[in-house]
């Protein structure tokens, strides 16, 4: 391959943009960057919705049956503003659904995957721009369905995000939310279609459209994580889609895939039967366990990139990192049963799943050690993205270690479905993924908008979020140790949990503080889009290909033909004077380019 540098093709002014052109460019755009930003903005909006739903849950747990402030008299005028238990079930169902299916998965794969993949591998766009556009627009019917589900009178879907039948399959079991549950299923299925379109596109793009010289083992870890995530989605999601269709048929046609014979629900015989509720749980978790990794792997990848950049050091153990991502993905498919230890699953099966589950902690541990190795002996710059990335490492340790309790089957008997598990997955998903997402927004914001976000505000945002999230989620471990069950609208009438109210109130105050701190982020984000200080191509002096493109990149991304000579983490390389060594910079004379620098 020879270096072919062709002059760029952007920068002409065409101020008289027609409406049609505007729509083609910003609405139904096929450009991966615009689609990525569309994903980013919509998911951030949903993030706000999900956060407010969480506050609703926290209100009920801290002040059970007390009038809900602001919206109480609007929604529950008949009950004097107090939340109904049905509404509470809808709240946590929607909180989980929104956060998982409309925030975390699309913000990682949709927003960052879309924006970063072509840029980081030196491609001009995704392999299939139209498919890419469709994957975004298939989210909108899903949005519509979930809103229909939430606003369904009198109650929204309330079977939890796991939608376990028969509660979800037989409409008599949850009177009031009959069609809401069907809307919910449709929404999740549509999100699945969208993700599937995205994932095949990402895989093709990463496989086929890497810049010359960019071998698989020179890919940034973000791209590796996105690649493995896409594989997870492609293989696991169809099973959920199949199961979703079966549950839709159970609800609408009256087949009985998940409904056993002889149910007596609400004093009425349910007529169909012959199925098995556990079948849904197996099919559901066959997707949703890998989905857990779909929700963390890209975050791990992005954190690795940020850590290496601000520790000014190569990633410690690049290949072990890649292998552990792949290992997590591989093992991720054979551990779904650990969600079902007390579900009535065959105990023998539980034993095999338990061993596999224990083993999946291993690659995660390897990753943590490698991150620590990366910052060891570095030149650590405490920028906002770095702080978020460091907190990811710190918090992920908590989330990972608490997972071992759940993996141990006998212990899981006690802590299953208690707040211990709530603490665990919030440490992974909020303190982990969401913090990584914040960090990534601060990190790649200059690339996206050509401007930098305010550092001081960013650090305040980090500090407050970090404090409040620990105040919110750490104490949940303690609640879980008492056996405090999740999904109860009023746990305090149990003598065992009566005394936990003050702690729950403290948690609620922290949660309110956490949501409130995001105002700083929102203000910083929107202010910086228009008024932030302008930056050049490579404000962080990073190595990745994306930093070689203009900020923001024009259509086609690169104004030259990128040729890759090395991996993305060659910081402080002895070969060059500067502490960074971009992937596209040819080696100085007399230096033999190593075949494969990463070990």
């Amino acid at each position: 391959m020879t270096a072919v540098t062709v002059d760029d093709a952007h920068g002409h002014g065409h101020p008289e943009m027609t409406l049609r052109q505007f729509i083609n460019t910003y609405v139904f755009s096929k450009d991966h960057k615009i689609i990525g930003l569309q994903f980013l903005f919509t998911t951030l909006l949903w993030f706000l919705v999900g956060g407010l739903l969480a506050l609703g849950i926290r209100w009920q747990l801290a002040f059970p049956w007390q009038s809900v402030p602001v919206i109480g008299n609007l929604l529950f005028a008949a009950e004097g503003g107090q939340m109904s238990p049905e509404f509470y079930t809808t709240l946590f169902t929607m909180h989980a659904t929104v956060m998982i299916f409309f925030v975390i998965i699309p913000i990682l794969a949709g927003a960052f995957g879309n924006y970063l993949i072509p840029l980081m591998i030196g491609a001009d766009d995704m392999a299939f721009p139209t498919l890419n556009m469709l994957s975004y627009w298939f989210m909108w019917p899903a949005f519509f369905c979930i809103i229909m589900s939430f606003l369904n009178p009198p109650y929204g879907a309330g079977a939890g995000w796991t939608s376990y039948p028969p509660l979800s399959s037989v409409s008599e079991a949850a009177p009031g939310s009959a069609s809401a549950q069907t809307w919910w299923l449709l929404a999740v299925t549509l999100v699945g279609v969208s993700s599937m379109m995205g994932s095949v596109n990402y895989m093709t793009t990463i496989l086929q459209m890497r810049a010359p010289g960019l071998t698989m083992f020179r890919l940034p870890l973000t791209i590796w994580a996105m690649f493995i995530t896409a594989i997870l989605q492609a293989f696991a999601l169809p099973v959920l889609t199949a199961a979703g269709f079966m549950q839709i048929f159970d609800r609408m046609a009256g087949s009985g895939f998940f409904v056993p014979e002889g149910l007596v629900i609400n004093n009425a015989d349910a007529e169909s039967g012959g199925g098995q509720p556990l079948l849904w749980q197996h099919l559901f978790w066959f997707y949703s366990h890998p989905a857990v990794y779909i929700m963390i792997l890209p975050a791990m990848g992005m954190v690795s990139d940020i850590l290496a950049c601000f520790a000014r050091k190569p990633i410690f153990g690049y290949k072990p990192m890649v292998y552990s991502i792949s290992g997590i993905a591989g093992l991720g498919f054979i551990v779904w049963g650990h969600h079902m230890f007390v579900s009535g699953m065959n105990p023998m099966l539980g034993l095999t799943f338990m061993v596999a589950t224990m083993m999946i902690a291993l690659p995660s541990a390897v990753k943590v050690f490698n991150w620590l190795g990366t910052i060891w002996g570095g030149d650590i710059k405490f920028t906002t993205p770095m702080l978020f990335a460091l907190s990811f490492v710190s918090m992920f340790v908590i989330g990972g270690l608490s997972g071992i309790f759940m993996a141990a089957t006998p212990v899981d008997i006690f802590i299953h479905d208690t707040y211990f598990i709530v603490a665990h997955f919030h440490y992974v998903l909020f303190s982990g993924t969401a913090m990584a997402v914040f960090g990534s927004i601060y990190f790649w914001f200059p690339k996206m908008f050509g401007r930098k976000m305010n550092e001081t505000a960013g650090k305040w945002h980090f500090f407050l979020t970090f404090m409040f999230l620990n105040g919110t989620f750490f104490l949940m471990h303690i609640l879980g140790a008492v056996g405090f069950p999740r999904r109860l609208a009023d746990p305090y009438h149990y003598a065992t949990f009566k005394h936990l109210l003050p702690m729950n109130q403290f948690i609620t105050y922290c949660a309110i503080g956490m949501v409130a701190s995001q105002v700083i982020f929102a203000a910083n984000f929107f202010y910086s889009i228009f008024k932030g200080p302008k930056v050049g191509r490579n404000p962080w002096n990073a190595n990745g290909l994306e930093w070689m493109a203009p900020s923001p990149p024009g259509h086609g991304n690169f104004d030259f033909q990128p040729i890759v000579y090395r991996g993305p983490y060659e910081y402080n390389s002895p070969e060059v004077e500067t502490d960074f060594y971009p992937q596209t910079q040819p080696p100085p004379d007399g230096v033999e380019p190593a075949a494969d620098e990463a070990h």
Partner: protein, 153 residues
């Protein structure tokens, strides 16, 4: 290197030297014959030459053979490079694994039926089996015998 060429033709000519027409005709005929074979296992079973389970097994073998023929020849996997393994093997392993893991819970579900559920469970339409509760506990492997009993009744 022209993009157009790269996209459409560059790598497509691995097997384009001669037409595989006769081969494909052969494969199509083989597929039709194998379909007939599936049928013949049914025939063998009805004439009490093989058991129901054996007939099922043979049918699945025939199906796998047919599937292989389609994949290898019609879908051109025979002429593809090594990527075919990377793609096909994990998918097949995973799909088999999923089904296998369902068996202990869902496939064996009659073993832990409650009394109420047994009362509502579909009854074998055999008037001579009075105590249906006992028949439920048998593994499904005996179904063929039951059916044969019926036929010989």
């Amino acid at each position: 290197m022209d993009h157009e060429t790269h996209d459409t033709e560059h790598h497509e000519e691995h097997h384009g030297e001669h037409s595989h027409l006769r081969l494909f005709i052969g494969v199509a005929i083989a597929l039709a014959v194998l379909t007939g074979l599936s049928f013949s296992t049914e025939f063998l079973f009805e004439n009490n030459i093989i058991s129901k389970g054996m007939s099922w097994f043979l049918m699945m073998v025939v199906s796998c053979a047919k599937a292989l023929l389609v994949i290898v020849y019609f879908m051109h996997l025979k002429w593809e490079t090594n990527w075919k393994w990377v793609l096909t093997i994990p998918a097949s392993v995973m799909s088999l694994f999923l089904v296998l893991m369902l068996i202990p819970d869902v496939g064996n579900r009659t073993n832990h039926y409650t009394r109420e559920r047994l009362d509502h469970a579909a009854l074998p339409t055999k008037p001579e089996s009075d105590d249906h509760a006992t028949t439920h506990d048998e593994s499904h492997g005996t179904e063929s015998d039951d059916l044969e009993d019926d036929a010989n009744h």
